[in-house]
């Protein structure tokens, strides 16, 4: 039903350039896009909202290219992931990035995941979602968030990230194992 109303709204945007219809699409999907980007940016709400805004602007500009090969939300999440990667690249190339002050969302998580001693030092603190996710590599985190938070299938995750389904499966397996180990070592569950 959601898909049908999305298609009707998309048709209005493409054929008539209706901002009102696009507004309804944004309203219906803002939560998924913003939540996904918040998890990718380790809970940085302002940055996530800026990226979400950029995502919807790109969707507005490219809506006539939406071929319905996937659901509209999957298509939006794919744009959001690209916007995030572009932003990461821009951050990496900026002089500030080399100070190492604001790189919590980069692949450093992979190293952290393999060193349980780091996690155990945070025991006793309230269990934080982004703290737990930061123990995963960027790719693992994206796969886990898309499946466990956004409810996307492996096929859809592969479309969003532009990687093969088998690669998604192995990232999911490794990411979930690392995450479960982190949660247990912090007394969760």
């Amino acid at each position: 039903m959601q898909g049908l109303s999305d298609i009707a709204l998309i048709a209005q945007v493409v054929a008539l350039g209706s901002e009102r219809a696009f507004g309804q699409l944004v309203e219906a999907h803002q939560e998924a896009v913003r939540r996904f980007l918040r998890r990718l940016t380790a809970g940085d709400e302002m940055r996530a909202d800026d990226l979400a805004q950029e995502t919807f602007i790109r969707a507005w500009q490219g809506l006539s290219g939406f071929r319905q090969l996937s659901g509209f939300e999957t298509w939006l999440l794919r744009i959001a992931y690209r916007v995030f990667l572009d932003d990461e690249r821009a951050l990496n190339h900026s002089p500030l990035a080399h100070d190492g002050a604001d790189l919590s969302t980069l692949d450093s998580g992979a190293a952290a995941a393999s060193s349980p001693s780091r996690e155990s030092s945070t025991a006793g603190l309230s269990m934080d979602l982004d703290q737990a996710l930061s123990t995963l590599s960027e790719t693992e985190r994206t796969c886990v968030v898309l499946q466990c938070v956004e409810g996307q299938s492996i096929k859809e995750i592969a479309q969003i990230m532009g990687i093969p389904e088998n690669t998604v499966k192995s990232h999911l397996l490794r990411g979930k194992k690392n995450l479960a180990n982190y949660l247990r070592s912090n007394g969760y569950g």
């Binding site: 493409v14 901002e19 803002q30 805004q53 006539s64 466990c148 979930k176 995450l179």
Partner: protein
């Protein structure tokens, strides 16, 4: 192997409960308004693209209609249909067919019977189907190329 499966399923349950506990609703709080106010003017290119597609669609429809009528004339169906209509109107005018639905049905069955006799051979049908498929494929390819 069994033990490994148990670990995986317990991991899944642990992670599912963790994410369910941390699920936060995100209220719009003016986000949609901010997006709408930041929208750039839609590029005219998409309108030009739409017009080009419509033009293609129109031409394909015109060609399809001409081909369809041509095929009906070729098969003699068109002439047969016109004769049936003429026969029907003559009888209606003369009052013979007034409320005579059974007669109308008989005439229509006769028309269908003649139509059956006029049906092309399997070879002709195959040739028509192949030609239609090729024309459709060419049309679709042109539209896809235009889109790219």
């Amino acid at each position: 192997m069994e033990k490994n499966k148990q670990y995986i399923s317990s991991d899944e349950a642990l992670i599912a409960s963790f994410f369910a506990e941390h699920r936060e609703p995100i209220a719009d709080n003016g986000f949609t308004e901010r997006v709408l106010s930041a929208l750039p003017q839609r590029e005219n290119a998409s309108w030009a693209e739409a017009m080009r597609l419509r033009r293609w669609s129109l031409w394909l429809n015109v060609l399809g209609t001409i081909a369809g009528i041509g095929l009906l004339i070729y098969l003699g169906v068109f002439t047969e249909w016109m004769q049936f209509l003429q026969h029907l109107s003559n009888r209606l005018i003369s009052g013979v067919l007034y409320f005579d639905y059974s007669n109308l049905l008989v005439q229509f069955m006769l028309f269908l019977h003649r139509l059956h006799e006029l049906m092309p051979s399997p070879t002709q049908l195959l040739a028509i189907a192949l030609t239609s498929m090729i024309l459709t494929a060419v049309g679709i390819k042109r539209v896809v190329t235009d889109l790219q």
